[in-house]
């Protein structure tokens, strides 16, 4: 942590230069403050009038999403369920595999393998989402179809699997950091007491690294929930409310990308879409708050 050092202000040119430079830096940080304010105000400002026209409950519980329909309906439930379905199934796939990979990397792999693995994970993390979407739409969907014989090859499962692939790198890098931060003394103590490596991991290392691991899970889920391009290309974007992973769904991010560009500024559709955006923001904000809290706990535990 940075210590705050009080320095007596210098006089003369150097002092002016110094102040000038710090002034510039202050300006730079103000830009960031401004950005957050903008995002929040923008979302809230455009979403709030919607709740004047329509009540919150019917928005949250309405089962039909058709803002440009005739008659129009503004129920966010199909979108919410779509997002949660895809993200949850992605998590179910990504978390075990990611954690297994993490444990392998931090405890089992020998250093030479590690040197190959870590860049591989970084490459996976760097692949743009449109390429993942391309793969999901063109290749993965066909493979899934031949296994599941679903009626539509673009469906929630397709989206979930590709999201899982996108989640794993984030999960692994953060969780691995957490596991590496566990002091060796604890692990050595466990082994000195006769535990073998697996028992040490299971009973000592993992519980110790738990806050960091949960933070990793939560952050990667945040990525999954906020993903736009890959799900648009992979899930088919039907507006139905369904819990069937082999049918097409639309996520909240997809709804924003599809519907907002043609909405007229200030119209009820525009405001409804921003209500969806606000909901999304709140969801990811909540997730990040949880992750933040956990990360602080995990960092403080091992100062």
């Amino acid at each position: 942590m940075a210590t705050k050092i009080r320095v007596k202000p210098k006089r003369g040119i150097r002092g002016i230069l110094e102040t000038g430079i710090w002034g510039t830096l202050l300006l730079c940080s103000l830009v960031s403050i401004f950005t957050l304010a903008m995002v929040f105000l923008y979302l809230v400002g455009n979403a709030l009038p919607f709740f004047g026209r329509l009540d919150l409950w019917s928005f949250l519980s309405g089962t039909s999403w058709n803002p440009f329909g005739d008659p129009a309906s503004y129920g966010v439930l199909p979108l919410l369920v779509g997002t949660i379905l895809v993200s949850l199934v992605a998590a179910v796939i990504a978390i075990p595999i990611g954690l297994g990979c993490t444990i392998y990397l931090s405890e089992i792999a020998d250093p030479k393998v590690k040197r190959i693995f870590k860049p591989a994970i970084e490459i996976l993390a760097g692949i743009p989402s449109v390429v993942y979407g391309l793969f999901a739409a063109l290749v993965l969907s066909d493979w899934l179809r031949s296994i599941t014989h679903s009626s539509s090859r673009l469906n929630a499962l397709n989206g979930a699997i590709i999201l899982a692939v996108m989640m794993v790198p984030i999960l692994v890098s953060i969780a691995e950091e957490a596991m590496n931060s566990v002091p060796r003394s604890i692990k050595e103590a466990s082994m000195a007491l006769g535990a073998n490596r697996w028992e040490t991991i299971r009973r000592t290392t993992l519980p110790a690294a738990l806050p960091g691991i949960v933070a990793a899970i939560v952050l990667s889920m945040g990525r999954a929930i906020g993903e736009t391009m890959a799900v648009i290309m992979a899930t088919g974007n039907a507006t139905q409310l369904t819990f069937d992973i082999l049918s097409s769904v639309r996520t909240m991010t997809a709804a924003l990308a599809i519907d907002v560009p043609e909405a007229v500024s200030g119209s009820v559709q525009y405001q409804a879409l921003f209500a969806v955006g606000l909901l999304l923001f709140i969801l990811t904000f909540g997730i990040n708050l949880i992750a933040d809290y956990l990360m602080t706990r995990f960092k403080e535990a091992y100062k």
Binding site: I116, Q240, D259, V264
Partner: protein, 345 residues
Amino acid sequence: MDKKTMYIAVGIIAIIVIAAVGATLVLNNNGSINPEKNAKIVLLKKTSSSPTFSPMDKAAVYNGSYPLSRYLYLYTDGIPNSTSSVYKWLNYVLNTSTGQMQVQDAGFYPLQTVDLSAMRAQLTMGNTNSLTGSFKEGGSTTMAELTNLWAAGFKNATGITVTVSLGGSGTGIANFINHAIDVAQSSRVMSAQERTNAAAAGINVTEWKVAVDGIAILVFKDNPVNVLTLPQLEGIFNGTYTNWNQVGGNDQSISLFGRDSASGTYASFKDLVLVKKENYASSMLQFNSNALIVPEVENNAGGVGYVGIGYAKEATGTAAQTLLTSFVAMATPLQELDFVMGNGP
């Protein structure tokens, strides 16, 4: 130690590449790269006792016997005067040897003589809109490939760049109203509400018909259903019918593939087919381009989708044939086409 890391990084990539080559040779390469022509066009009739028509029948589309005929439009702010680039653009588009020729290449139908004359007459009344130099156009994805041809040919002929962005007719019109683009391309007419908004934004909305389209209904090649009435089509797309055996086919559940709400084709089809003003079934998959609907229908025994005729022709493998026929019919020298396409002398 650190140089070593870099060499290892390069080595890693090499290994991954080699492993990837090996892996994909082992895995079976699926058919996405070589799509088969697994879709066919359904003939439509207005009622069960009417004659059937195909969107491939030019005359039927022109005279409206084919129920899903529609125009494709451009919208400008006022009628451009003859020095502006928008005038030159419209002049290029509404010309039988350049723009209208390319309409056929893209798979649509050129304007009939009467419509073309009316549009050209409108073009002579220009007195506003003196935009010179390059300008921005945007909107309909149905017209995307047509506009690609027009823009490329126009640039070759006049040197003016028309920058095209997509997003669907609705998005294009919204951008047009907001002054972000100069010309909107749309596969549906502007609604009364949109015209009001445009007027409020100070835009003098001028509509130009530029091509003719017949929305084609595609089904899986082996689907025994070859003909549908309009009421049946309506029942399929509003979710009333969920199985093909309800409209004379096999026991196969219906999978709907359509456009998304920003699309002009979504709106035109809705107006023409869902005449009771109901909504599409919520189980319909929604795509932001016609070209995405085709592979879905091809891969789905129960699939049905609607696309502009330019996309159906490619799907059913009749494109090349039609092009040759139209060449012969128009008796246009191929050299002129070459020049327009930029390959010329």
